[in-house]
């Protein structure tokens, strides 16, 4: 590696190796499958949301300010992960790790609000088995929350695992794919806040 000091970074680090290319392609296949997973949960929720079985309904439970704050947190975390990738492509590894950490913290804040929200609903007598609405709601929003939790664990693992290695062609695709996953979580949340919360309050 004598000529390393004159080396320039490849423009698309995440796709510079065959392994990276395959990861990138395979991950989109996975996201296509995730779309269908969430579609089935959304369809179930939309079918069952009127079946209250005497329990509390959407308009008794949901509070727009809380959902608005959660939405803004998740949207901002999507932006910070964009900053992380820009840093990565500039070769700024410290910037990548810092922005990834910010993303994880915002994700954790989101998850905290969601747990608080669920606790609140259980106290208002909406259990998982109270009504078909309750089951569908907890399954849909809970699956999204589980994705957030998994994303946090994933990115944290990457940060710890590669805290000292510097930017390499091995870890660049890993960070890139984790960020794609994070954006996808935000994509799903856009539909959740529209379909579950806004439609739940609006009619």
């Amino acid at each position: 590696m004598a000529d390393q000091h004159v080396q320039t970074l490849p423009p698309n680090l995440e796709k510079a190796t065959l392994e990276g290319k395959n990861k990138y392609l395979g991950f989109w296949l996975f996201l296509g499958g995730e779309t269908i997973l969430f579609a089935s949960l959304f369809g179930t929720y939309l079918g069952l949301r009127g079946s209250l079985n005497g329990g509390p309904g959407p308009s008794d439970l949901f509070h727009l300010p809380l959902v608005f704050i959660m939405t803004m947190i998740l949207l901002t975390s999507s932006l910070t992960s964009v900053f992380a990738i820009i840093s990565m492509k500039k070769g700024n590894y410290k910037g990548l790790l810092t922005w990834m950490t910010v993303t994880v913290l915002l994700g954790a804040a989101f998850l905290g609000f969601e747990i608080y929200e669920f606790v609140e609903y259980v106290e208002h007598d909406l259990g998982f088995t109270t009504s078909a609405f309750g089951s569908a709601f907890y399954t849909l929003v809970g699956t999204h929350g589980a994705h957030v939790a998994f994303g946090i664990a994933w990115i944290t693992t990457l940060i710890i695992r590669y805290r000292k290695s510097g930017l390499t062609l091995t870890n660049a695709p890993k960070f890139y794919v984790a960020v794609l996953y994070w954006h996808f979580i935000d994509v799903v949340w856009v539909f959740i806040f529209s379909v579950v919360y806004l439609m739940g309050i609006g009619g």
Binding site: P11, A39, L79, L169
Partner: protein, 116 residues
């Protein structure tokens, strides 16, 4: 990767090329603009439901439209689907959407209306 002469586990040094830097600066600008726009869309969606001024019959399709715009922005600007060489990536996510639509429609019909 032999063709780059780089060990994939060796730390990368050096700077991106001038061309890449320009491209990244442009990319960042687009992403910041679409982020601002997404915040705007979200706020509009919440306001249209929170205020009583807009009738529900209009507000529901309206917020769904806003959601779709926001998701397309996420996919194409934040997740780089608009870049060249992403044909298969586009095919995969849109195949997912193509199957997702009848899934949602049929579940709504079977569970919500037919109640079989």
């Amino acid at each position: 990767m032999a063709q780059h002469g780089i060990d994939p586990t060796a730390p990368l040094t050096g700077e991106p090329t001038k061309k890449t830097k320009r491209k990244l600066a442009k990319e960042l600008r687009t992403q910041l603009i679409s982020f601002t726009f997404m915040i705007f869309l979200t706020t509009i969606a919440f306001i249209s439901i929170a205020s009583d001024a807009i009738p529900t019959g209009f507000a529901i399709p309206f917020i769904l439209l806003l959601a779709c715009i926001q998701v397309v922005l996420q996919l194409y600007v934040f997740m780089h689907l608009n870049e060249r060489g992403n044909g298969w990536q586009n095919a995969m996510i849109w195949t997912g959407v193509l199957i997702a639509i009848p899934t949602v429609a049929s579940l709504m019909l079977l569970l919500g209306i037919v109640k079989f």
